[in-house]
Amino acid sequence: MSEKVIDISNLNAFYGELHILQNVSLHACKGEVVSLLGRNGAGKTTLLKSVFGIGPRRKGSIRINGTETTRLPPHKIAKLGLAYCPEERGIFADLTVAENMYLPPALRQGGLGPDEIDQMFPNLRERWKTGGAKLSGGEQQMLSIARILRAGADILLLDEPSEGLAPAIIKQIAQLVVRLKARGMTILLVEQNLSFAKVMSDRYYVIDSGIIRNEFDRAQVLDDPGVVQRYLSL
């Protein structure tokens, strides 16, 4: 088995007295796209925030490329190549596209150069001087991903990238994630949209009420999407 890039074991997360995540264990190997599926309020966002140490209080172990990170501050975790695209995209309304793009400092070798950015995100260059507030949801999502690639991240935590977007845009985002996977990136994808996640996922975890309920591989879900879908629909 190849090396585990993200390796979470027995993670518990708390907001105040609320025990949100309970003994969560999951992993993603190099170059894998692993999807974490679950309904609203299941604890998906809490999990991603826990990995980065922003927000909830945590207990348990989170290893990134073998380094235990539960005691590291977020800015040190970022230096391991990890990056996070929040559910609400995190585009700064007062900053232009260019300013948003250059906000994350280049942390490591191997970040996307300007040409690659232009090629992968053809729309962004035209909008370079536009304020973040004027971008469409799809453009915001693209920018949110582009800026962390520029900085050199190769382990991506994507929080519901397809949420609230039109089908045509969702298709573009899916193609983008497929290309990132082809570049060898490791991706932990949080989704409720199975038809989106199905395109690129190697494995699936299903979370409900902060507990991992089940685990599937690509073939199982392609064979019968119903095994996962029943956890998602009400």
Binding site: K49, F52, I54, G55, P73, P74, H75, I77, A78, K79, L82, A83, Y84, P86, G90, F92, D94, L95, E99, Y102, L103, P104, P105, L107, I148, A151
Partner: protein, 292 residues
Amino acid sequence: MEIFGVPLNLLLSQVMLGLINGSFYAMLSLGLCIIFGMLDIVNFAHGAMYMMGAFFTWMLGHYLGIGYWPSLILAPLLVGVIAIVIERVLVRHLYDLHHIYGLLLTFGLVLVIVGIFRGFYSVSGKPYPIPEALTGVTNIGFMYMPTYRLWVLGASIVVCFGTWLLIERTRLGATLRAAIERPDLVATFGINVPRMITLTFAFGSALAALSGVLAAPIYPVNPLMGESIIVVVFAVVVIGGLGSIIGSIIGGFVLGTLEGLTKVYYPEASHISIFIVMMIVLLVTRSGIAGK
């Protein structure tokens, strides 16, 4: 020529003098505003930083024979270092608590800092000479203006505008503004947000200290000098719109001028004019002129 019975010359010279006071208001409220923006703390100790800037200038000269020009750099640096220690040791622990704790802590700091200086130097004013190169007066057309005061005005405009540029037009400033909005997200970009907060506190405090250095040759240097000016500066920040950089800069100059004009027409009210404006502005806008 007269305006409302006051000769134009006299009026203009009061405007100029008001602008000098305004220079101090602008620099001080700018620092206060930056600290408020990044730390979300109403820093009562800001006046003490100003006082220390002036006092260190005097001490550097008195004990070490170091003159005005080196002090212009050294005093703000010293105060910056003190600010770093204060932020790391004390202020840092309050970020998750209600505003009132920051207010109480920094208020306590004022008592301690001012108390220390009073203990050593009592409250009598220490004279500080105007640097050689800036003595005398300069003809500015309608009046002879003390050269040193012109320097204060010019230096303040440059410092305020420079700070505005830094925050609004540079990548560092963009990072700072982003960190104010989403500290958690900016930290995931690999930026050391806690360090940025510390340095912001130090920078704002150093700005206050720089005003203190500029003040040393024209206001008596004494432990209480910060307290008398900071109350006015708080009013300026409120009028400019809490957290608005440009609001606090322009507010500082405009209100200094207004105060100067009040001195001409109704001297008795000059000290309260700014507070009257504050009340009116708050009643009308609820959040200051440039506030959100």
